[in-house]
């Protein structure tokens, strides 16, 4: 299913070992990490933080494929006006210290995660009125919303919303407590976390006795950890490494599968010339050589995109990609009078491949008569609002998050969103719809506008690759494939 021609050694296996892992043993996994890690689920932002949080803490809902399934919450009831919802919580859940899980924990967690004091405040904040959230009894929580939210379970599953214990403030190694299948034994930021199985987990016991999470900032080093036998699994491996292949018969390169690909895009700024003109936007989409980008930037590990984010998410419109047509693009540019217009393409190596794709995109835009200039910047300044507002295009990628999350994010940023009345109306309708058919219609309309005159040039869907010992089994994807769920993983 992969485009291009992967090298003999580099054909990735979808999904990996499907066997049920045996009970016991220690799983050693490497992820990107660093000194900024934290056991506080709202204070750390590195990959290993997300992986660790997933097994130490539980969420109210989790994503399985495109569906949100109950976790700490068993059900959610949405009010008619979609301006509040009621959560029913699971019985017999215990914290790592043995105390019972209550509705008060959820209320506290919602407030905790949305507070601006958090280094990474939850993205639920614009949706939920957490100050007014209340526990009506030990297992029921009512949460008013700030805008109509028709399907809160999707949001609660897709946006990391780990539940911490009521009153928890101190998340140092001995104190960090969750309800998840593993508890923290020892932790040192940027080095490693030792997690041991929590036998009292509500979802049954996890297979591995112990998970050792190793933090490395350099992906190549991470792969070397596996090839040299010092680890069993390395997540989010660069395509070049995959292409090189791994030595030895007991290692394999895996992909998280087509449904878990990440959409790579250039988001055009519709608040500025020349991309304020839909014709020029369309020209850019006609100009981009999707297959070349997939073959070069992704080394074939992926497929051309259709300019819509959210492949694999619910209500995604699987339209065919726009075929490349340089002549038509030139004509559109001429019509719009944008010949020779200067366009700055802002990028940083936020994700491997951003800069490369931007450089190629610039070459392709030059072919249709735009004066494309690549603006490569450092990570620390990449997302400066003022600078983003000045750039004509920003390189960006989003995984298969629910469409509400994806378009919500883009819309929050004037220079990333699409200022189009039809689009905005349809989006609001989709977000607030409590009925699934209405929702499906609304999303279809949102994506139709995007496909016609949208501003996201999603040129490719990239495989999420990992390197693993063949015996590593049970690795699941819940929200993003880059941060797999290890709660059911172990050695077969």
């Amino acid at each position: 299913a992969c485009g291009g021609a992967p090298a003999p050694g580099g054909v990735p296996l979808a999904g990996g070992n499907q066997a049920t892992p045996r009970k016991g043993g220690a799983l050693r996994a490497v992820f990107g990490g660093g000194p900024a890690e934290s056991l506080d689920p709202y204070a750390g932002g590195t990959p290993v933080d997300f992986v660790r949080n997933d097994v130490v803490y539980d969420s109210l809902f989790v994503l399985r494929g495109s569906d949100s399934v109950p976790s700490l919450a068993t059900a959610v009831e949405v009010a008619k006006d979609a301006k509040s919802f009621t959560l029913r919580l699971r019985e017999n859940v215990r914290w790592h210290d043995g105390s019972p899980f209550t509705a008060q924990d959820v209320v506290y967690s919602l407030r905790y995660m949305c507070s601006p004091d958090r280094p990474f405040p939850s993205q639920l904040a614009p949706y939920l009125d957490v100050a007014k959230a209340s526990a009506t009894d030990a297992k029921t929580v009512v949460v008013p919303t700030l805008t109509p939210v028709g399907d809160p379970a999707q949001l609660l599953a897709a946006i990391p919303a780990k539940i911490v214990k009521d009153g928890a403030k101190d998340f140092s190694a001995g104190k960090a407590i969750g309800t998840g299948p593993y508890r923290v034994d020892s932790f040192e930021a940027g080095r490693q976390t030792r997690l041991v199985r929590f036998d009292g987990h509500w979802d049954g016991q996890a297979p591995a006795d112990e998970i050792l999470l190793l933090s490395l900032s350099d992906p190549q080093t991470a792969v070397r950890a596996v090839t040299s036998g010092q680890a069993d699994y390395a997540g989010d491996v660069p395509v070049a490494t995959a292409k090189t292949g791994v030595p030895g018969g007991d290692l394999e390169i895996r992909t998280a599968g087509e449904a878990n690909r990440v959409g790579f895009a250039f988001v055009l700024n519709t608040t500025r010339k020349p991309f304020d003109d839909p014709r020029v936007r369309r020209a850019a989409r006609l100009a981009v050589n999707r297959q070349a980008l997939v073959d070069t930037v992704l080394l074939g590990y992926g497929a051309p995109g259709n300019d819509l984010f959210g492949k694999g998410a619910r209500h995604y419109s699987d339209l065919p990609p726009l075929p490349r047509d340089v002549d038509a693009a030139r004509k559109l540019i001429k019509e719009a009078g944008a010949e020779g217009a200067v366009v700055t393409l802002r990028s940083a190596e936020y994700v491997l491949g951003y800069n490369a794709s931007t450089q190629l995109f610039a070459e392709q835009l030059k072919e249709i008569g735009l004066d494309a200039r690549v603006q490569l910047v450092g990570l620390q300044e990449f997302f400066e609002p003022a600078a983003l507002a000045e750039a004509n295009s920003v390189t960006f990628s989003i995984g298969p998050s629910p469409l509400a999350v994806t378009y919500g994010r883009l819309g929050a940023f004037p220079s990333l969103g699409l200022a189009d009345p039809e689009f905005t109306a349809a989006f609001q309708r989709a977000l607030g719809a409590t009925d699934d058919t209405v929702r499906a219609q609304a999303w279809a309309q949102v994506q139709k506008v995007m496909a016609e005159r949208g501003n996201t040039v999603v040129w490719g869907q990239a495989d999420v690759l990992s390197v693993a010992r063949k015996t590593v089994a049970g690795v699941q994807v819940r929200d993003e494939a880059k941060y797999p769920y290890l709660g059911k993983a172990g050695l077969a």
């Binding site: 405040p121 040192e188 930021a189 940027g190 350099d218 450092g378 997302f383 400066e384 929050a412 940023f413």
Partner: protein, 319 residues
């Protein structure tokens, strides 16, 4: 008072003043860097309005001098503030600084004798094959980026021969000293890169000494080459060599990012770069103070060493 001691005290006091200057410059400078902690962290996932709200909440919009004063006040009380992830900065720094110092000290301990050995050896055989080999090898080694050197070492000693671990994993809370094997390759990588510079400079100094009349005198009186090297050449290169070692050591502590990354060794270099990238200003500022303070101290020591090792300067101070 002993004039030597007086010199040290005066220089140390002066360095204290310089450190204050450094903190002002760096605090303000870092503050002016593009990007701010909140945007760098939250990125595009958060609307500009919300970002502004959080910035305001954290007091990032207050005048920089106000914040500097607060920060400096905390500094005086040993409080370096909190990192972006709310850990006390002192805690974030402490283990990494130790690790980096360990690496740097080991590398310099090896660098010092080796650089003098190869530098003097090349100078002794100046213009001949040994010199060419040493000099060219040195230059080639520096020309190859550190990660290539480090990578080659891994391929040979870890992947190939299997003598040493490819990665310097150390369990949480354990000092790398407990597993000395993990230190070998990182130290070696730093050493090879640092050696080149030291060898070349020391060679140049030694060549000047070897052309001097005192060496002619010693040679003509049949002094064994080793004695000449040890008594006349080595002492003459030491005042300069000390500066070179110091320069290398400072590079080993704060600039060993790539070596640290290749071996997964948790050191200060990586901390500095990631903190800069993620806009974690309290950590950056604290690091600069600690590294800068350490460097200023080391510079005082190097100045002192230069005086002590140059007889004319020493006798001018001590009478």
């Amino acid at each position: 008072m002993n004039p030597g001691l007086a010199l040290v005290l005066r220089r140390t006091a002066l360095s204290g003043g310089l450190l204050v200057l450094l903190t002002v410059v760096v605090y303000v400078g870092v503050d002016l860097l593009p990007g701010d902690p909140v945007t760098a962290r939250l990125g595009p996932n958060t609307s500009p309005a919300r970002i502004a709200e959080i910035r305001d909440h954290l007091g990032l919009d207050r005048p920089v001098l106000t914040r500097y004063t607060e920060w400096a006040w905390g500094l005086l009380h040993g409080d370096l503030g909190h990192a972006a992830n709310h850990r006390p900065v002192t805690e974030v720094l402490s283990d990494r600084i130790g690790n980096s110092l360990l690496l740097a000290v080991l590398a310099v301990l090896l660098l010092a004798p080796l650089s003098v050995f190869f530098g003097v050896l090349a100078a002794w055989h100046r213009g001949r094959a040994t010199d060419r080999i040493v000099s060219s090898a040195a230059l080639t080694l520096v020309s190859l980026p550190e990660f290539v050197v480090a990578g080659a070492l891994v391929v040979v000693f870890a992947t190939g021969l299997g003598w040493l671990p490819a990665l310097s994993f150390v369990p949480a809370g354990v000092s790398p000293l407990a597993q000395p094997a993990v230190l070998v390759l990182p130290v070696l990588s730093l050493l090879l890169v640092g050696l080149a510079y030291a060898v070349r400079v020391i060679r140049a100094c030694a060549v000047a000494t070897l052309r001097s009349p005192q060496v002619e005198f010693l040679t003509l009186n049949g002094t064994p080459p080793l004695t000449i090297a040890l008594r006349a050449v080595v002492p003459s290169v030491l005042p300069v060599a000390v500066q070179v070692w110091l320069i290398s050591a400072s590079g080993f502590v704060g600039g060993a990012v790539l070596v640290e990354q290749v071996f997964g060794y948790p050191g200060v270099g990586e901390l500095l770069v990631t903190s800069v990238r993620s806009g974690d200003l309290p950590v950056v500022q604290a690091l600069v103070v600690v590294l800068g303070g350490g460097m200023l101290l080391a510079l005082v020591l190097a100045d002192l060493a230069a005086v002590l090792l140059t007889p004319r300067l020493r006798t001018a101070v001590t009478g």
